[in-house]
């Protein structure tokens, strides 16, 4: 399988000469096509910085990030914007749906700004809605939907452009456990049926145990990797909890 994402010795410093903060201290890993990877770590561990660097919102200080064969650390401002639009999909913790648009329109917007034909848009919106189980709510506005439905609409918006990589930042953060489960299951189906590649940042062990592999970050370094292998959900969950408790140390915020 081809590798979609390759991070090579990524470093990120904040601040100036007098007061330097090292957010990422040489992180290297890769994600294969069709893989569902979780990133876990305590607050301040650098996981959000990592996600920002990968999603081209932030720039690295040194090191390289290759997505779909292209080195995003060497692209200009302009080509980054178009790269972000064409090759990446985003899912945010707080849904980020436009309150003035219906679910259908929210999903379609991702395609209209890419200048696709109306027929193609219609077809693909319906298809994405089918996979994520939101066909019945397409005509509703965000304020008429539940949190889980909203997040799945956001998911549909992220995947509809067939991005090389979907980046999800704490997607279950604002959901109750039932909606979270439904969302995570639809993510799995996405990976299985559409061969989507997902990189999900979370600090919820339950959310993480749906992944194929988990990267643990601590103090800006890759601390541990945990592949799912042939574990059952329960076994995988227990292993994750074990690592998390190691990870947290005295500044644990995952209880």
């Amino acid at each position: 399988m081809a590798s979609i994402l390759q991070a090579q010795n990524v470093e990120k410093y904040y601040g100036n000469r007098g007061n330097l903060t090292r957010a990422l201290a040489g992180v290297s890993f890769s994600v294969e096509e069709g893989e569902y990877v979780g990133v876990m770590g305590a607050s301040g561990s650098g996981k959000t910085t990592l996600l920002n660097c990968i999603s081209t919102i932030d720039t690295v200080t040194s090191g390289h990030i290759r997505i779909d064969g292209r080195d995003i650390t060497e692209m200009g401002h302009r080509s980054l914007a178009s790269f972000r639009r064409e090759r990446l999909g985003f899912i945010f913790q707080d849904f980020n749906l436009l309150d003035t648009l219906t679910a259908y329109e929210n999903i379609a917007l991702a395609l209209t700004i890419r200048k696709r034909s109306p027929r193609e848009i219609n077809m693909r919106v319906k298809e994405a809605a089918e996979i994520l189980g939101i066909s019945e709510v397409l005509t509703r506005y965000p304020y008429q939907m539940s949190g889980g439905q909203k997040q799945r609409v956001a998911g549909a918006r992220a995947l509809i452009t067939n991005p090389a990589l979907i980046l999800a930042d704490e997607p279950t953060g604002a959901l109750d456990s039932k909606s979270a489960r439904a969302l995570l299951e639809s993510f799995r189906r996405l990976v299985r049926e559409k061969k989507a590649t997902i990189l999900m940042v979370t600090h919820d062990a339950f959310a993480a145990c749906h992944c194929d592999r988990i990267l643990f970050i601590r103090d800006g370094r890759l601390f541990h990797q945990l592949p799912r292998g042939r574990d059952t959900g329960k076994q995988f969950f227990d292993k994750i909890i074990e690592v998390v408790s190691l990870l947290g140390g005295e500044t644990d915020d995952v209880n």
Binding site: Y13, Y14, D58, T59, T61, A81, S82, R84, R85, E86, L88, F90, F92, N96, L98, D99, T100, L101, E105, A108, L109, A110, L111, T112, I113, K115, P118, I121, N122, Y141, Y143, R157
Partner: protein, 670 residues
Amino acid sequence: MMSIKLALRNVRKSLRDYLIYFLTLSLGVCIFYAFNSIESQQAVMEMTGSQMAALRLLSRIMNTFSVFVSVILSFLILYANGFLIKRRKKEFGLYMILGMEKWMTARILLFETLFVGVISLFAGLLLGVFLSQGMAVATARLLGAGIGSFRFVFSFSALAKTAGYFGLAFVFALLFNIEMLRRQKLIDLLYAAKKSEYFRAPRPGLSVLIFLLSLCCLGLSYKLVMANGLIASQGILTVCIVLGGAGTFLFFFSLSGFFLKLVQQSKRLYLKGLNMFILRQIASKINTAYVTMTLVCLMLFVSICTLSSGMGLADALSAELRGNTPFDATFSVRAADKSPDGAYTGVDLLAVARERGFDPGAGAYAAVRCYSADAPVVLRAEGVEKTVYPDFMKLSDFNAVLALQGIAPISLGADEYALNSGVHNEKWQRMLADYEAGGELELAGKRLRAAGDGLYAYTTEVSSIKDFTILAVVPDELLSDAPVKQDLLHINYPPGDGAYEKRCVSALLGFAPGGLEGNLETKVRLMEYSHSTTTTIAYLAIYLGVVSLLMAATVLAIGQLSEAGDNAGRYGLLRKIGVEDRMINTALFTQILICFGVPALPALVHAAVGIRAASKFVDIFGEMNILGSSLVAAFGIVTIYCMYFFATYAGSKRIVNKEYAHQRRITENE
């Protein structure tokens, strides 16, 4: 000291937020000053006593209306100020969390208001002073006064008044701000930005229906106005206004839903770029802002109408005057309305004039006589017959009147008559064009028939309004026994004699022996009177028109800017899902353009109908050339409106891009 520093920095920082505030204030101050400095403009004019009196009257009228205008402008200042405060609630919350007392926050606010107030007051006054230089020339021309050597016009009293009124408005704004701060809870200040507006989905099906209904209302109202004009009965006019107002309201109420439905029909248009987003954006906005839109539309309508037809009316009045003064003076004597016996046997006006120490002989003159007789004529035009009761004049007298104007005499056969009316209006012109034949006229036992081209439209006397009477011109001998109605003495002054007018006026003005009524109209006096009227009308129209335009534009701009906060989140979201800056700016531009255009278009249509109706009304006074003045008015309106549009765009762009720019700066600084 710290508060001053903070306040200064705040003003500099949010300069673009203050732009609308600044614009409204400066323009308000400018126009207020200019129209209040009229009296001091006499410094550059060379005026007669009556022109001076006219200027004083004008100045007094402007002062009276200024009170009204100042109330409106104060309201606008308060409105704009309220918006600024709302936008900065969080900042004030932060000051308070840092341990600042409320009175210290209030002091920062005080200094900020003061800075902006003083700056815009200065800018406005500066503009106003420049404007009043130009206005002095315009006033002189409108009043028909001469312009002396150039001198800088500055009115200290207008300055003091402007500063006083606006100072008062600032004090109100300040009190309002402090009261607002005092009442707010810290938590509300800090979380002010988080409270998003309650969004309600439109109901497209219903809105199509309402939209059609609104068009019906407007159509009916237009039709009524066009059919009946402005002199329709009070009842019909009220119905028109109610229908028009309701129609406009329903129009804006349903417009967004209707338009959305319409565009959604075309998937190609709807699913293109950010069209869908822009449409929804506007739909959600107009959905809540239809009341504002209606008000803005009506204010624009008033502004366009007053500006163009006010100036048009002024034009019409002065154009008419030129037509109404074929001679330098007309002195006329007739029986007074309430004379005891009513019988008038005629007065020799030349003798009267000489007796009173004025000999018209130095110039050219014509003394003529009008007779009355109970002899109706039937006119036939466009197949409709109309009976008129004309006054009568001898052919020789009529020709003398024409000769004094340098017009060739007319001739009549022994059994012919001709008709003349000084009214140049459309109706008479049409009658002239379609004149088939007059009926026969029976006078002194003789039957007369209409002469071949027996319908004339000459002005036969100097008078302040159009002469509506119809004059029948007949052979001299037929009137020898007819009762005299009026004696007229038309005079043309000898060229170069400046004192002639004065002699004439002092001799003949106020001549009224028992039972008689004398009337002297001179060209000079009419001109001065008319100039005073036209100037007053034109200036009032401009003053009120511009103020209502300012009001409309400010309300609209601030409405847009207050929404920009909500929009910032939405536009930020677009950026997150990969929309380019250029596309976002275009969308923002389009959105604001539509919001400025939507109330303007119906206002234009309303105004077009209103002006047409008004021009029919004005037509009574003379033809109104609405085109020239409309173009001037349009230019002014568009300029001010565009200024507000761009200021709003700049402000919204700043609000929308703020977060993002901030973020980018951080990353680029590394």
